[in-house]
Amino acid sequence: MINLLYPLLASDISSNISDEEVVKLYLDTQNVAYFNILYKRYSGKIFGKSLSLLKSESEAHDATQDVMMKILLNLSKFSGKSRFSTWIYSITYNYCIDFIRRKKKDPSVYVDDFIENLDIEEEVNDAFITEVNVKRLKVILNEIPSGDKSILLMKYQDDMSIREISGILDKSESAIKMQIKRAKKKFQTVYYDKYKDD
């Protein structure tokens, strides 16, 4: 049973302890203080990603609550094959993408055959993407499709490898590489549309 009666203070536990160790301690003791550590580390990040993808504070609020509950109830299924953060973010991205699909009744959040005349011969520089100031970054992320946005967040915010992204989206690594290229191009196109006069 979940021990709610005598939780340790999260501050009693070293902040240097790794996520994987916290998960093990939680599973061994069912002490909610260990879950509080994970909550403190990840709830803000989950909320931010949900907000970026769902574009609504109340939906991001519900998403964070649902994702955290899902994580709590499935902690024993975390196998340790991936980083804990990757596991958490994969739950978050999949939750948000499913939510968008259901809301829009559109199964094509990620479209392989992206029918647009994007010149993807020339790859957009990473620095161009990451050095756009935060205010503009918010605007651009708000403009681009959810699929492109999530793939850029995975790459630049979560430092996920191509292999990790392909695992989350259940696609081949070459498909993911192409999708990143397209998302970067889309980002650049929106940037120039919005700020061409600067």
Partner: protein, 67 residues
């Protein structure tokens, strides 16, 4: 090499900006955990009695199992 990453800055800003929302979400989760805890307690308490009752109804006896 990436020198500056404003995706990370955006994440930090969002975490700071929505701190208060996170407190509300935590209370909701704790509420849900409380409900789950109560149900778990009820199941732990009554499930053995329910199984025993079903065994008795089917004509068996849990005493025989012990022997």
């Amino acid at each position: 090499m990436i020198n500056m990453n404003n995706f990370k800055k955006l994440q930090e800003e969002q975490e700071e900006q929505y701190k208060d929302n996170l407190l509300g979400i935590k209370s909701s989760i704790e509420g849900n955990l409380g409900v789950i805890g109560i149900f778990t307690g009820l199941i732990e308490t009554y499930i053995t009695k329910l199984i025993q009752c079903m065994i008795n109804l089917s004509g068996g006896s849990s005493d025989k199992l012990d022997k």
